[in-house]
């Protein structure tokens, strides 16, 4: 912990040492040293303020005199004041609801199919060997390339959007579940065997039980990815949806709405991630104890 302090103090014993060096906390720029929570927050806030400040500076003044044209980049004030029109005239709430519904259903299906399949394949590697080429293929096909096929198969309505998310996420959900199960140390399996556990007991009570927190954690990250994919699907024949809103904003030259929607997407993703994280701590109390 205090390696850095020990390193500096004895050498410079005669010269005055600042309070910061004396404290048990390593210097700010020590390799891998975590800054204090307050410092961390201040730095994060500082970088956001810096970007907003730059943004404000380059878009300062009346529309004609600006350094950057409002068509390219509207000013922060333009963006904030455009919120009521986005909310009322362009039905923001319906779009948020439509996007979330599609992601929840599509991703939910991917979880319902991918996790049990991944558990099965993680526990019985012969089954995994059979599925390996498919999973590799699925993860490496560019998602956008799936759109034409899903349109052929599922039309251009809601089903297509949900199935697009399902197909795009399934290989990732599956692979992460396999990896989590395979990642459980052999020692646990051996311990269970010498305690008389049957194969199915080992899968249920050891492999799944120990891998579940990791599976949940990776689902949390993959959900963020699914949220990104839905924007692609919503560029085609959508009534509502954030992707649809973005596209129509661009067509109508509403750059302030584009910026605003991007910010809203950021906050939505953050909110969902925190919510899932909150449940994670409740579901797996033993994990919350680990440093």
């Amino acid at each position: 912990m205090s390696e850095a302090t020990q390193g500096t103090v004895p050498r410079r014993a005669s010269s005055p040492v600042s309070a910061a060096q004396r404290s048990s906390r390593p210097p700010l720029f020590a390799v891998r040293a975590a800054p204090a929570p307050m410092v961390r927050r201040a730095l994060g806030l500082g970088s956001v303020l810096l970007i907003v400040g730059l943004w404000w500076a380059v878009t300062f003044g009346s529309p004609e005199d600006r350094f950057v044209s409002p068509v390219i980049l509207p000013s922060p004030v333009d963006v904030v004041t455009s919120f009521p029109t986005l909310l009322r005239e362009r039905a923001l709430i319906q779009s948020v609801a439509a996007t979330l519904t599609r992601v929840f259903i599509g991703f939910g299906l991917a979880v319902l199919v991918g996790v049990p399949l991944g558990i099965l394949c993680g526990a019985w590697r012969v089954v995994e060997a059979a599925g390996a080429p498919l999973a590799l293929f699925g993860r490496n096909v560019p998602v956008a390339a799936l759109i034409p096929l899903t349109i052929l198969w599922f039309g251009i309505d809601e089903t297509q959007k949900v199935m697009f998310i399902f197909i795009a996420c399934l290989p990732f959900v599956y692979s992460d579940a396999v990896r989590a199960i395979a990642g459980v140390h052999d020692r646990y399996v051996e311990t269970a065997q010498t305690l008389g556990a049957t194969s199915s007991q080992i899968v249920r009570k050891v492999l799944v039980a120990l891998a579940l927190p990791d599976i949940y954690d990776s689902l949390r990250h993959l959900f963020g990815m699914a949220f990104g994919y839905i924007m692609l699907a919503e560029l085609i024949n959508a009534q509502y949806g954030l992707g649809f809103l973005l596209m129509t904003s661009q067509r109508r030259g509403l750059s302030e709405h584009i910026i605003l929607i991007l910010i809203i997407i950021g906050f939505l993703a953050y909110g969902i991630d925190r919510l899932l994280y909150f449940f994670q701590r409740g579901l797996f109390p033993h994990r919350a104890l680990e440093p």
Binding site: H185, R187, Y188, E190, T191, A192, Q193, T194, L195, G196, A197, T198, Q201, K205, V206, A209, L210, L212, P213, F284, P285, H286, L289, E290
Partner: protein, 281 residues
Amino acid sequence: MTTQAASQDGKAERELPNVVEFRSVTKRFGENTVIRDVAFTVADRPDRGEFVSILGPSGCGKSTVLRLIAGLRPHHPPTTGEVLVIGGSVEGPGPDRGMVFQDYTSFDNRSVEDNVAFGLECRGVPARERRERAREWIARVGLDVKRDARKYPAELSGGMRQRVAIARTLILSPRIILMDEPFGALDPTTRLKMQELLIDLWRDAQATVFFVTHSIEEAVYLGDRVYVFSSAPGTLIRQMEVPPSKCPPQDMLHQPHFLGMVRELRGTLETLEAHVIDAVE
């Protein structure tokens, strides 16, 4: 699992089959011979088991011997030879042969109580009964039932986790207890306490213990017998009886015959390790 007819062995004078018997057991992985021609017999002593310490430099196949008794792959089955447990050949792992490892000892998702009750749960013992028995064992291994039973392994020290692992094994009353350097990662003071605990528990358990260790003192202090293995390939080169001592275990450490045995074993091992560059962990 190990209930074949017993006395294929003409030498058996009693009706009781040997607890463990290795008949010139060799295990190879490809070109690499892990153990070669290992043969030994541990007889059944009614009403009391035997404590066998296994000593030897790193990579001498000590763990292989344990895993062959446990029936754990990939060491099980042997390439040639036979491993017999209570007269029957080993088919695979089972709760009659409990194993305590050095690392990854507790199921991190289970509380202490649920860890200890794991084997009972697998047997289908009702929740209420297994809880009672688990709590009884938590107390017997020196943990505080009130304070520790609901804790998760992440909240425990290394020594406490080993206590949990020992309780989890002994609760099933195994005939054989296999311990693979269980105290190797503990600090000396904790280690001493764990050794005392093990001596107390083992006397009641009436099981045969196979205890792999790097520590000569530990091997002599705990064992009725000490097996010395040489490395590459692992062979059993020496068996030593430790004369039973009347004095309390703590005083044994200072007894001349104890110190003499330790010195002798150290000599044997040093000769062995002259061939091996670094045998320390």
